[in-house]
Symmetry: none
Subunit: 505 residues, 2 copies
């Protein structure tokens, strides 16, 4: 078969794979945004779609197409004569083919059904604040993940193949080293702040009408450049961004948290993901595996860059605070932009990861990274997990959860079988700070934001990051954008400048 014929057939299959994965996304979207009914069967439906995907990805035809294009364990990107886009497509599909061939259909189906059910079991256990309801399911998940890691294969660490799924090319050893440096930096900042008087943020906990907040959040998303012709905003308990079609990128916001800014920062965070998805689904990549972010950490770099570096900056609120104050004149009566900024940037150890401030957030990730590794090797049993969690909270942040809800039962990820996922959140902070630094050398970000020209910031990110989708591996893309490999000092400097020198918090 000629290269051209093989490539053309590969693109055809890839396009069908993506279309089917969008069907799975519709099933999930509905599950998360509509009050649940029939969750049991939905798990079977998801399992069926996942099985079809698995069959297509692991098909012999896929194997021979990839082989005929020169792909092998040694040459994952296929023949060197392939152009950049074709080579990227071969790399992505070969990785997936190679990985999934190692799991048989019954394993895939069992895992999909197990995690489908686990979602409800976890939610009910959290509701009841009863870890024991969830423990047997989590045990089975950890067993299956361990088996997955064994089947994928590894040289140094059973955690390697898990993290590689989300952050291709990054090893456990690299993460451990980056996190050791980050921990030192975070402790340094926390120590420098320890005698500061905590900011007053009581005004954020008053009653703010949800319909007005929805209107405000929509305006934020419009301003940063979310394309409403190619996307939808929904409401769900667990916010997320998803792609239901090449031109159907959706995000959800939650309105259940007592702090009014929670919904805003959810909107900006998910908005960052959505801008990346919309920008990476363009005429060159649309409908293919080249659309979408190149890795989870890269994705998280964009959500966190928008949420924190931009969304919690003075420039952002110079533009938005007057609008917010117009909507809520009573609640913000005594508040000016500076006291608002102090309130939303309050640094304080807390229990819930998703509500953590920028400085303590990394500690929540280090905790999960260490626990996941211990679960995987069997050093830690699921039944001992709650205690281990609490001990680590005391060690890293000096506080001890009073119940499971604010401890080990807070996150959805393990119920989805997604061990190896959490580190990407903290890596995203590191990537994000480094990318923001590069952008700031080319455009006057603060001035653009303060004057409401946030679409120009989006355009820069679109041109340098989003538009490439998954064409480059994450490490290569970072070098392309910033000229350097990942360096945790950008994030450390950002925190020091903002919180210690800048007197925020």
């Amino acid at each position: 078969m000629s290269y051209d014929a093989a490539l053309s057939r590969l693109r055809e299959i890839d396009s069908e794979l993506n279309m089917i994965s969008h069907i799975a996304a519709v099933l999930s979207w509905d599950q998360e945004t509509v009050p649940p009914a029939g969750a049991e069967e939905r798990a079977v439906q998801m399992g069926w779609v996942e099985t079809r995907l698995h069959e297509m990805i692991t098909s012999d035809e896929m194997g021979s197409l990839l082989t005929s294009l020169g792909a092998s364990e040694e040459h994952g990107s296929g023949d060197p004569s392939l152009d950049e886009h074709s080579s990227a497509l071969v790399r992505i599909l070969f990785t997936e083919w190679n990985r999934q061939r190692k799991l048989d259909a019954s394993f895939v189906r069992e895992f999909a059904e197990l995690t489908g059910r686990a979602h409800r079991i976890w939610a009910e256990a959290r509701q009841a604040d009863d870890f024991s309801q969830y423990a047997p399911t989590l045990e089975r998940i950890v067993e299956m993940v361990r088996e997955k890691s064994r089947r994928f294969g590894y040289v140094d660490d059973p955690y390697d193949p898990l993290i590689d799924r989300f952050e291709p090319g990054t090893t456990t050893a690299e993460v451990a080293q980056l996190f050791a440096a980050m921990k030192k930096d975070l402790l340094f900042v926390l120590d420098a702040l320890k005698d500061r008087r905590a900011a007053d943020d009581a005004f954020l906990y008053q009653k703010y009408a949800q319909d007005k907040m929805e209107q405000f959040n929509k305006e934020i998303l419009e301003t940063i450049g979310f394309d409403f012709n190619r996307g939808v905003i929904g409401i769900s308990t667990h916010p997320f961004t998803t792609k239901l079609g090449a031109d159907d990128i959706r995000l959800t916001i939650r309105y259940t948290e007592p702090n009014v800014t929670s919904s805003m920062f959810t909107a900006i965070h998910e908005g960052g993901h959505a801008l990346y998805e919309q920008g990476s689904s363009n005429p060159v990549t649309r409908g293919s595996s080249l659309a979408g972010g190149t890795s989870l950490a890269f994705h998280e770099s964009q959500s966190r860059l928008w949420e924190n570096i931009i969304g919690r900056s003075k420039a952002f609120w110079i533009h938005f605070f007057p609008k917010l104050k117009t909507l809520f004149p009573t609640q913000l009566n005594q508040i000016d932009v500076d006291s608002f900024l102090k309130g939303i940037n309050k640094v304080e150890p807390s229990f819930i990861r998703v509500n953590a401030d920028e400085v303590t957030y990394g500690m929540h990730i280090i905790l999960r990274f260490e626990l996941e590794r211990a679960l995987l090797t069997g050093q830690l049993a699921v039944k001992d997990l709650p205690d281990a969690w609490n001990e680590k909270m005391v060690k890293l942040l000096g506080i001890r959860p009073k119940n499971f809800r604010e401890g080990v039962l807070q996150d959805i990820h393990w119920s989805m079988g997604e061990l190896g996922y959490f580190p990407t959140y903290a890596l995203g902070n590191l990537y994000g700070a480094q990318i923001f630094d590069a952008m700031s050398k080319e455009i006057d970000v603060d001035a653009l934001i303060a004057s409401g020209q946030m679409q120009s910031v989006k355009e820069w990110l679109n041109e340098h990051v989003y538009t490439y989708g998954s064409v480059y591996k994450p490490k290569d893309l970072l070098v392309k954008v910033t000229g350097k490999p990942l360096d945790s000092s950008y994030f450390a400097n950002y925190l020091k400048t903002k919180y210690i020198d800048g007197g925020m918090a």
Copy 2:
């Protein structure tokens, strides 16, 4: 292969078929209830799922399982030794297998593409009020439907195989005879009412807040027994009821009509469909083709029985009117339950079928039935359809549409290729009245409704109709429930009692 083994495999395939059809329902639900984005790709996603279903239904394995269970053109229900449920399953699957095998893949694809495009062309033509934009497409649809009828095969009338798809076992001749009797009855009632002063219903066209209406409609659905643990209410422009899983029955309500009661009667109508779906998906039938209504007319009998016979009765409003008045004291200031009843039961010839009252509704169906038959035999050409429509409106209801929108372009059905569907709406009225009569002989329906014990009414219908799902053919089920074959005089008597003797309208 033993009967047991064949049956067990057949049930397995049937269960998977139903599960996959629920995935298609999720895709449709999302399309109808979420502001559209990416509609183009959604059509491809739906096509992919439909193709999988078609492959499974027409598979050779399905054929040999059915054959080994004794199914043939002569013995559609398989071997007489099969138990009632197995025999029903064989009947349903053999009918579908046999029908779909008669259409080759290219015909199926062409028909799907044609009707896929036709939906948009019809909507644009309706918007532009220009029949000529739509005529060539409708011509091709009629040609293909004619071809379909030929392939399915018939003895007496080319319309027979079309109506049999929706109302198994009912012939064109039977429908024609029933409709002739119904027409006489409707003319009798209309004639008796012709000198009555039209009821005043202006108060129904004031502004009623949607959130309060949503609350009221939810209470109606709770009261009649919709199970919110196994279902969801949504909002859409075109109301519908659908099954996304054995325990996930959903209905939608629309809030765009100027008459406030439109949303209420939509809720009760779709509620009737949903009660049938929930009741027919029970431990015996769930997940199989035996769950769900036995025919479209039977389904419509339930939606229309709840909407009209119950929902427009005095008993119903004795219970609900005080609640409605509490929600809308200003709008209903001068209105008592009797004037409210007159308003919602106003009888008056009108152009739009879905807004027609109980008496004139049947005329709209007779019109479509006669036109469809004439189109199918070729006696009527598509280009002459608008004139034929208008002539018939004058003949049947004494009014002439001023444009295509309120005439021939009002319905979506023909653009979907669904000729043979309309008669089931009027048959539903006939079935419904006959079933209501049987129920009234056993329980005091009015007393139960007026005292809010509507769940007892639902329980009767559940026990006598819903719980059987599709186990019995529609004609057999009607005899089982009422002791008699279909007789249009029950509906006629219902109308005469309510409108002539009862002085309603």
